[in-house]
């Protein structure tokens, strides 16, 4: 069922546009006419890595660059941007999150797992001990 909507505005700019007061009901965006989504990566300084800052909608890659500049480079320091079509990003499916779960004890893979760490700590402790044992030269 479609019914008409009345548009009225106190904004002189809207009045200038001469939009007819009676508007047909909004039927939604036709299939296939949605804008594409692009992911934006921002580079603050030359040589720095590009950091993902968000996404934008744009009709094509060039306008994606224009819009990305406005959204993400207008107020902060920026020397370059990447825009990448969101659909072109290769990613794991959310259901595969369990791939990343650590199921077994694997501390031996972490630096903290190495025995050498204990040796270093012991050495540091000894050094500290020596400092407190030695009388201060000024006294």
């Amino acid at each position: 069922m479609s019914h008409s909507v009345t548009l009225r505005s106190l904004d002189p700019r809207v009045e200038r546009l001469g939009i007819p007061q009676e508007q047909p009901a909004f039927e939604g965006v036709p299939e296939g006419t949605h804008l594409q989504t692009f992911e934006v990566f921002h580079q603050a300084k030359s040589g720095a890595r590009h950091i993902h800052v968000g996404s934008i909608h744009a009709p094509n890659a060039e306008l994606a660059m224009v819009f990305a500049k406005e959204q993400y480079a207008r107020r902060s320091e920026c020397v370059n941007l990447w825009v990448v079509k969101s659909s072109e990003i290769i990613t794991f499916s959310p259901e595969d999150a369990d791939l990343f779960a650590t199921t077994r004890e694997k501390t031996y893979r972490d630096a903290s797992g190495y025995k050498v760490m204990q040796k270093i700590l012991a050495w540091k402790q000894r050094l500290q001990q020596k400092d407190t044992d030695q009388p201060s030269s000024s006294s």
Binding site: P59, N60, E62, F67, Q71
Partner: protein, 253 residues
């Protein structure tokens, strides 16, 4: 100061163009077709007000009143903007086509001014180079997207906008009585040279984007703005733009 009248003429043209064009484009804030574009177009409008401010400030240094007084208290007849920037836009196609026609002229004007013998103008031209490069990038991207790459409707609306606006665009280059003086003093290469450079750039751009450029000999340029004769649209714009200022001209902002 030497060449004072010639400089005044040039600076008021440029400042008034930037102010009125910036104001007109700001009318799309909140109304542009998509959110991202709304922000982009508003940001460009804001840049233009920045250019106007820089130019009015320069006029202030030449002995004119402060920028607010110049922008908000002059009579319609004292404005030196071209008719192109005064036109209200009810169709975003018109706003975008004007954006392309005007900003390619701005780009070439500022390029010429980078060599100006008037140092403050040369410095400003270098400062705004990046902004104007972005403005023309925005304009040319839309031109292509809505032209050959667009739909029959987008192409037809942009073409109609081009035909309506082209005589006004040629009015940007209304000759000044100071042309020879500006050229000889090295301040500015002049409107005729600017027009030539603009045509060299805009015609291929429009044709490649899929539009038919009206033959030049069939077009009567809309002159008058540079000597203070304006379209019926400028006065209502000034009334609206200055409404808040006029409530209390002595208010500190």
């Amino acid at each position: 100061m030497e060449h004072r009248a010639a400089l005044d003429d040039l600076l008021f043209r440029m400042a008034d163009d930037a102010l009125i064009y910036g104001h007109r484009n700001s009318e799309w804030t909140g109304l542009a077709p998509i959110l991202e574009e709304d922000i982009a177009f508003s940001s460009i409008a804001q840049d233009k007000l920045g250019h106007a401010l820089a130019l009015y400030t320069m006029l202030g240094q030449l002995g004119h009143p402060d920028p607010d007084t110049l922008a908000f208290t002059r009579q319609e007849r004292q404005f030196r903007c071209c008719h192109l920037v005064e036109l209200p836009t009810q169709d975003y196609a018109v706003a975008l086509m004007r954006h392309a026609l005007f900003d390619y002229a701005e780009r070439n004007r500022y390029r010429l001014l980078e060599q100006s013998s008037f140092a403050p103008l040369a410095a400003l031209a270098q400062k705004v180079r990046g902004e104007i490069k972005y403005h023309t990038f925005h304009a040319s991207t839309w031109l292509r997207l809505l032209g050959r790459e667009g739909t029959d409707e987008s192409c037809a609306r942009m073409q109609a906008a081009l035909e309506m606006l082209f005589p006004y665009a040629l009015g940007i280059f209304e000759p000044s009585r100071y042309e020879d003086e500006l050229r000889a003093s090295g301040i500015f290469a002049g409107e005729e040279e600017l027009r030539r450079r603009w045509l060299d750039e805009i015609i291929p751009l429009l044709e490649e984007a899929g539009y038919r450029v009206p033959p030049l000999d069939s077009v009567q340029p809309c002159y008058g703005g540079r000597s203070g004769y304006h379209t019926e649209h400028l006065q209502p714009l000034l009334d609206e733009m200055t409404a808040v200022f006029r409530i209390d001209p002595s208010a500190e902002w």
